[in-house]
């Protein structure tokens, strides 16, 4: 039997498993990116609090502390491999007697990890905005928080659309490491097929092909989303009118 026909046989026999794995991978990547974005919004907001000398001590203390914690969070998740985070998280929870499913555990780890990266992206996006817009907003009597929510954040978010797409792509691939805690995503299924058929090379090549095709399709879709967001300027602006 030729190599290609062996691949084909493997695919035909394994595709229910592979499909299930692919589904998990996509769900993990997609939900992880969405949840990560929401967590990132909280993390960056906490870091963006403006502290004024005229404020009560307790207000200033809370702002300082939460900003500090947020930065530590980002440093931890960016400074350690997701593989290790998954292990710590999973076994840590187990030891504390908390039982959650493999998928839920995996999703939490991806979300927390994505949050750290997107926080940095958001921070860069905020820093790239001209401080003049902040001054203009303050000079109108807007508070620092209003300025952040209504002027700075919308612009930073719009500019980070490509970065969010990028993170989604990264997550499609990087969720493979979650197989170590038993998450039944694509790579996990590939390994299962390999170890039952003993066709290791073919199984992993098959999995590679599925990853590649998925990523290429995702890239294409994201391009269209970005183009639609760019072209539909009026649409976006009517959304921002909603803010006003």
């Amino acid at each position: 039997m030729s190599f290609l026909s062996r691949l084909w046989t493997l695919f035909v026999n394994g595709y229910p498993l592979l499909l299930e794995g692919l589904q998990s991978t996509l769900l993990l990547a997609f939900l992880g990116t969405i949840f990560g974005l929401f967590i990132a919004l909280i993390l960056i907001t906490v870091q963006s609090f403006h502290v004024m000398p005229g404020e009560p001590f307790i207000t200033r203390a809370i702002k300082h502390t939460s900003a500090r914690l947020s930065k530590m969070y980002v440093a931890f998740f960016r400074g350690t491999p997701m593989l290790v985070q998954a292990m710590v998280f999973y076994y840590g929870l187990n030891q504390m007697g908390v039982r959650i499913g493999f998928f839920a555990a995996g999703l939490i780890v991806v979300s927390l990890n994505t949050a750290a990266y997107l926080t940095e992206v958001l921070k860069a996006g905020l820093n790239s905005l001209d401080v003049g817009q902040t001054e203009a907003s303050l000079s109108l009597g807007m508070s620092h928080f209003q300025t952040y929510v209504r002027i700075l954040l919308p612009q930073a978010l719009k500019n980070m659309v490509p970065a969010i797409g990028n993170e989604l792509i990264v997550n499609i691939k990087d969720t493979a490491v979650l197989s170590v805690i038993g998450v039944g995503e694509l790579f996990y299924m590939g390994r299962a097929i390999a170890s039952t058929t003993y066709r290791y090379t073919e199984a992993f090549i098959l999995v590679s092909i599925i990853y590649l095709v998925t990523v290429l399709i995702a890239v294409e879709l994201l391009k269209r989303v970005a183009a639609a967001l760019g072209k539909e300027g009026p649409r976006l602006s009517s959304q921002s009118e909603g803010l006003v």
Binding site: L140, Q155, S240
Partner: protein
């Protein structure tokens, strides 16, 4: 209206404003002039605490400014500022640029704040462009929207920092015309500008600054006829 006493600003390497004492009166148009680096922008920015003074006091509309968000917000909503580089909100169209603060600072309804914004844009002749984003406007148009954004707050005084310096020459006229119209309506204005002819036409009072000090503070007509100081004489001759 605004009183500045013993105002000092030092960024760390020497005072940029050296003990300034000034009073600005309602309905007065004060033009601040002086060479580059003399502290004009710094002085203007101290009046709404975008720059916090190193020493001295600023009283605006009966309130002493201090680094307290509530105090600053309540004063800033009553004194507007127009910047050299416009600083429009890039993600909002002209109308929303003008409606944002009326809506969220003055807490007007959506309809009321849009009405305010529309009226202000009409006043500066920008009614046709309300749905344009800043990136779709010329420099002069942007500055007119920025003036409308200030007007929409019904401010008691407007601070202008070189509103035409960033413009192409062909766009300067429309912005000066807009400001002249405001002057005719007796809007209180404090403005930094190098537009000498314009200043001559609209100013009630000239403050001439050099190296962080007020060198002259006189009625405009008298100042232009014969500046007291050699520095001002040379400055005027240089611009003429």
């Amino acid at each position: 209206m605004i009183t500045v006493e013993n105002l000092v600003k030092d960024y760390g390497d020497g005072a940029v404003l050296k003990t300034i004492n000034l009073t600005f009166n309602p309905q007065e148009i004060t033009v601040i002039m002086g060479p580059s680096g003399s502290g004009k922008s710094t002085l203007l920015r101290c009046l709404n605490f975008l720059e916090v003074p190193t020493a001295g006091t600023v009283d605006v509309l009966g309130t002493r400014l201090k680094e307290d968000p509530k105090v600053l917000e309540s004063i800033r909503e009553r004194i507007a500022m127009v910047f050299q580089s416009f600083y429009l909100f890039d993600h909002l169209n002209a109308l929303d640029n003008c409606a944002l603060a009326p809506r969220h600072v003055l807490n007007l309804s959506k309809e009321e704040s849009h009405a305010r914004a529309n009226a202000a844009l009409q006043e500066v002749g920008m009614s046709e462009f309300i749905t344009r984003k800043p990136s779709q406007l010329s420099g002069g148009q942007k500055q007119r929207v920025a003036i409308a954004r200030a007007l929409a707050m019904n401010p008691e005084v407007i601070l202008f920092d070189e509103p035409t310096s960033a413009l192409d020459p062909e766009n300067v006229g429309e912005v000066l015309a807009t400001m002249s119209a405001l002057a005719k309506k007796h809007m209180s204005m404090i403005l930094v500008t190098h537009e000498m002819q314009f200043a001559k036409r609209i100013a009630d009072r000239i403050i001439f600054m050099d190296q962080g000090e007020v060198i002259e503070d006189r009625p405009a007509a008298a100042f232009f006829q014969s500046p007291n100081s050699d520095k001002a004489k040379r400055f005027l001759a240089h611009l003429a």
